[in-house]
């Protein structure tokens, strides 16, 4: 058995989804944690320092490459899996079986597509200016000059449509995780009932808390809770 055979079987493809999914979940924790610095109420000094660290230190930069690979794999595999699974029933039902599963469990690709659109717009808002086209700087004294990404956030989130789009994306993320979190652990083989019940509860908690934290960021700027 080769690794290729291992990861291209029907079960193996799900392993790819699960490993990349769990990796993305870990990334969300780091991302939400760092962004929470906007609530330090210091005009963005702590946040800009944190963003500077992530952008200039070599370890996060290497992890960032891993992140892009992970997202890419997850998206490609997600679409391929969805299309392939759909093709397995050429003639559909007159009456669909909707009661047996949650709508969001059946809509992972649609929720994922909203997330993909979000990524593109989100990168355009922050990643591209920060890494490529450049942003205004903030002088923290003693010659320590950093990108003022906090200022970019302040500007970006003055537009109500942008805020709304971010909030909708967070809701999509929430449902994607409500299914995905527990599903990923099933996929990697956690069958023990005690652990699975625990993981499912943690998953629901995670699916609420993390997207809520993210959604509160644009809202905080729009409503001037943070200045």
């Amino acid at each position: 058995m080769t690794f290729k055979q291992m990861f291209t079987s029907s079960v193996g493809k799900k392993l790819v989804m699960a490993f990349t999914g769990i990796f993305l979940v870990l990334f969300l924790v780091v991302h939400a944690g760092l962004n929470a610095c906007i609530w330090a109420m210091d005009g963005g000094v702590m946040f800009n320092k944190a963003a500077h660290f992530m952008g200039s230190f070599v370890v996060p930069r290497i992890l960032e490459i891993g992140l892009f690979l992970g997202i890419f794999l997850h998206i490609i595999q997600g679409y391929m899996l969805t299309l392939e699974n759909r093709s397995k029933r050429k003639v559909g039902y007159e009456v669909n079986y909707a009661k047996g599963s949650k709508w969001y469990s059946r809509s992972m690709a649609i929720l994922g597509t909203i997330l993909l659109m979000f990524f593109i717009i989100h990168w355009k808002h922050f990643w591209i200016p920060s890494r490529i086209t450049g942003v205004a700087e903030m002088d923290l004294g003693n010659g320590f000059v950093v990108h003022n990404l906090y200022g970019v956030m302040q500007d970006t989130f003055q537009n109500v449509w942008v805020v709304l789009f971010y909030v909708i994306s967070c809701i999509s993320l929430s449902y994607h995780l409500a299914h995905g979190f527990q599903s990923a652990f099933k996929t990697i083989g956690v069958h023990n009932k005690r652990y699975h019940t625990m993981i499912t509860s943690i998953g629901y908690g995670f699916a609420i808390i993390i997207p809520l934290a993210f959604a509160l960021m644009p809202i905080s700027f729009y409503l001037h809770w943070v200045k």
Binding site: V11, V91, Y93, V95, Y97, G100, S105, T187, I188, H191
Partner: protein, 253 residues
């Protein structure tokens, strides 16, 4: 208990053979007792069709007592009809109301091609079993059962998995046409027992390979299979299958 009779409309998928174009046909069935089983209602419909010189509706059935897994009907949007933990043959007409239209479809999946009307070819399941759903035993005297101690929990879990009757409702219910609940029941059943140990790794790899060859989809853990399974096979078995697969494929040469 007094019997109630009802008049129903039955909207059935009719298809002459695997290659023919199929379509729904609606029939009236009158005077159905609520104490009848669903298949008795189908028998009455077929008697009527035969009397009128028509072609009876082909459907699979055998034991009519919920143990063989033959009675594959997708009724009103759920495999085996509206009741929980129930086969079509054990479904009774009291589940329906007078005047109701009942929609009956065959299992839908490319891997279960239609033979005729509601009858589908489920030999893909047989081939999956042939790929590893057994234990190899040398001939000779049977060993004393008590010489192989089995932990109670494992015996119970194995027995619960062995309940699977291979009906295919899990595939029919799944949006991905995945056969994972079926496969996981078979793999779990044998993985939990000492008799299954010698072929444990090759079994899961060969059975997954055969399942893929048969063209079933990939499981995405939606849970529709578990919700419709007449034998209440737990989706936890799928997680166990995944673990078996991960372990076996990592350690295989």
């Amino acid at each position: 208990m007094s019997q109630n009779t009802m008049n129903l409309k039955v909207k059935v998928w009719r298809q002459k053979n695997a290659n023919a174009q199929g379509a729904f046909v609606t029939y009236d069935v009158a005077g159905i007792s609520d104490e009848m089983s669903f298949l008795e209602m189908m028998d009455i419909l077929n008697e009527k069709l035969i009397t009128e010189g028509g072609d009876p509706v082909a459907f699979d059935h055998d034991c009519r007592e919920g143990i063989c897994g033959m009675c594959s009907m997708y009724i009103n949007g759920k495999p085996h009809g509206p009741w929980q933990a129930n086969t079509t043959c054990q479904l009774h007409m009291r589940a329906f109301k007078d005047g109701e239209t009942i929609v009956i479809e065959p299992w839908r999946a490319n891997s279960f091609p239609i033979v005729k009307d509601l009858t589908v070819d489920r030999s893909a399941f047989d081939r999956i079993i042939q790929a590893g759903g057994y234990i190899s035993v040398n001939t000779g005297n049977a060993v004393d059962g008590n010489s192989l101690p089995i932990e109670k929990q494992n015996a119970d879990d194995a027995f619960a998995a062995a309940m699977c009757i291979g009906c295919g409702a899990c595939v029919a219910a799944c949006k991905n046409s995945s056969a994972m609940l079926f496969l996981s029941a078979k793999v779990s059943h044998l993985a939990l027992l000492p008799q299954g140990a010698p072929e444990r790794k090759s079994r899961v790899l060969n059975m997954v390979a055969q399942m893929d060859k048969e063209g079933f989809g990939s499981c995405t853990n939606t849970g529709a299979c578990e919700a419709t399974c007449p034998k209440e096979i737990s989706i936890a078995n799928i997680a166990r299958l995944n673990k078996e697969y991960l372990g076996a494929s990592l350690s295989a040469e």
